[in-house]
């Protein structure tokens, strides 16, 4: 059946088999038409249906207590300190990249957040804790507020905190070494705060302390795949009923360690540009590396049954996810494994590639990384007619452990406004990044957005993909 480029899966494989089409048969339909299958029918019937009908996914067949939905979003990004302002910046092409100076390394560029650090913390909290913790505390409180949950009457022992981080402890360790250098490396001047600041669970633990959460809290160390990994962990814990509310996503304080700039620079992978707003330029032929950014994005995740019970506003459903590993190199990505990860997420979601309306890419602006991801995407989405592809790092830089969660948030409003924000700064598309559906430099209005697929990949070959569906 070929009416338009849209692929619509059959609701029920058993019904499809009974109809004589067999498992996996697909019909290509326009957005306002769906397929109705009847066990007794020998052919699929094309019927008009309300424009709200979404291509079915496998998660929708699960019981409500196994379906995981997003009910709140809290974030700070270099170009916005809440979901609305970030979306506005993306649609109006406002970058958050600025000139930045850090000790030892000197002048560079970075994505810098300017959220109100004292909205949820005292000066003493800020002095004692870490920047990643502060970012996390802000994002978590904002997410809970956004969710409309009756927090005062929430059983905090049933709340879990799952925070993705690329790294943690470099900032604090560098600070202490800087301090003791002034005392001729006398280690008795090394702060007693160093250990609680640098334990790997710190950002999640600071959120727990701030919000009185007594359920599980920990970080998920997953390089730059961590934002997605935090979401996935939260969803898994909800499905296991280890918690009733998950605060999940990722944070980054990475711009406060000179080491990350120096290391990317030594790798010839640190971006530079006379105009900071144009420095992060994935897919452009003149891209020259990564703009390091800080930020955080945490979601409140709930089981659909709980969200329905409190009549919560739902911003999307986690209908599929996957993580895998390249096992090929410390830094170079492997497009074959990345494509496998994307395909695994699609398969688990029960979706075809063409069911995805927006692919939010990981691309960081490095020469090989962008090319490799585009190769993986070409493999999966190369023949799709409805799939748009964009990149959010072109605005905010690479927010490391927060990147996946922030970039997903930047796209989620497309469910409602039907606009795909573009990848900016692409003056000349690198031919090796050529892909159908790339949205470049100008926002694109689309008829509807039902599914968003979010890529997030990291060093040591860690890959993560999440698919969020409109509900």
């Amino acid at each position: 059946m070929s009416i338009d480029g849209r692929i619509v899966s059959f609701w029920d494989h058993e019904l499809a088999e009974a109809s004589g089409f067999g498992i996996g048969l697909k019909g290509r339909l326009p957005r306002d038409i769906s397929v109705s299958i009847f066990p007794s029918a020998s052919t699929a019937q094309v019927v008009g249906c309300p424009p709200n009908v979404i291509a079915p996914n496998r998660a929708s067949k699960l019981p409500d207590d196994q379906r995981i939905v997003i009910t709140g979003i809290g974030l700070t990004a270099p170009n916005g300190n809440d979901w609305d302002s970030m979306r506005d910046a993306l649609l109006n092409k406002r970058s958050g990249v600025q000139p930045y100076e850090i000790r030892y390394f000197g002048q560079t560029l970075a994505g810098i957040c300017d959220f109100d650090t004292k909205r949820y913390q005292t000066k003493k909290d800020l002095r004692r804790g870490t920047r990643a913790g502060s970012v996390g505390v802000y994002a978590a409180n904002e997410a809970v507020k956004h969710s409309g949950i009756d927090w005062e009457n929430t059983d905090r022992s049933r709340v879990g905190i799952y925070v993705g981080v690329t790294e943690h402890g470099n900032v604090e360790t560098e600070n202490e070494i800087f301090v003791i250098k002034g005392f001729d490396y006398d280690t008795s001047c090394w702060s007693h705060h160093h250990n609680p600041r640098t334990v790997a669970n710190n950002p999640a633990g600071e959120i727990a302390l701030n919000m009185g959460v007594t359920g599980p809290h920990y970080t998920i160390g997953a390089a730059c795949a961590a934002g997605n990994a935090g979401l996935i962990q939260g969803a898994q814990m909800l499905r296991l009923h280890e918690c009733d509310l998950a605060i999940a996503g990722g944070t980054s304080e990475s711009i406060h360690t000179f080491g990350i700039f120096a290391s990317f620079n030594s790798q010839n992978a640190l971006a530079s540009h006379v105009n900071p707003a144009e420095a992060s330029r994935p897919f452009d032929v003149d891209r020259n590396g990564i703009v390091v950014a800080e930020g955080g994005c945490l979601y409140t995740l709930e089981r659909l049954s709980d969200a329905k019970a409190r009549d919560a506003k739902i911003f999307g459903e986690l209908v599929g996810y996957a993580m895998n590993t390249d096992a090929t190199d410390f830094v170079l990505p492997n497009p074959e494994r990345q494509a496998e990860c994307v395909n695994m997420a699609l398969r688990r979601a029960g979706l075809e590639a063409d069911d995805i309306d927006i692919v939010s890419t990981h691309a960081t602006g490095t020469s090989s990384g962008d090319t490799q991801e585009c190769s993986a995407l070409r493999d999966v989405f190369g023949r799709c007619k409805n799939t748009r592809i964009n990149n959010t790092k072109s605005y905010i830089g690479h927010a490391m452990g927060a990147a996946g969660a922030l970039e997903l948030a930047g796209n989620l409003k497309a469910f409602d406004d039907h606009v795909v924000h573009p990848t900016i700064n692409v003056d000349q598309l690198d031919p090796s990044c050529e892909l159908p559906g790339l949205v470049l430099n100008e926002p694109q209005q689309v008829p509807r957005v039902d599914y968003i697929l979010n890529n997030s990949f990291g060093m040591l070959g860690i890959n993560s993909v999440v698919i969020i569906g409109r509900i």
Partner: protein
């Protein structure tokens, strides 16, 4: 340093450690912990700051002398009078 200067220095350290507190009404005779939200890590900050700022070493067995402003200044006076 004179006792008054030592007191001012301790106030400055406390202001760093507990920036949200109002130190103007501090009673020198009362224990810090009865007036300020100080925990053991904050207390160690006092010790650390004295070490960093003035190279004053305070052995653990003497920590009890730092209970109140009065006892702290009295304890530190001989250690800091040459500073």
């Amino acid at each position: 340093m004179t006792p008054a200067e030592i007191r001012n220095e301790i106030l400055d350290i406390l202001d760093d450690i507990s920036p949200d507190e109002d130190l103007d009404s501090l009673d020198d005779e009362k224990p810090f912990r009865e007036q300020l939200e100080l925990d053991s890590m904050d207390f160690l900050d006092i010790v650390m700051e004295l070490r960093k700022r003035h190279r004053v070493q305070i052995p653990e067995e003497d920590y009890g002398h730092l209970a109140s402003m009065h006892s702290t200044v009295t304890y530190l006076e001989p250690k800091m009078k040459e500073i």
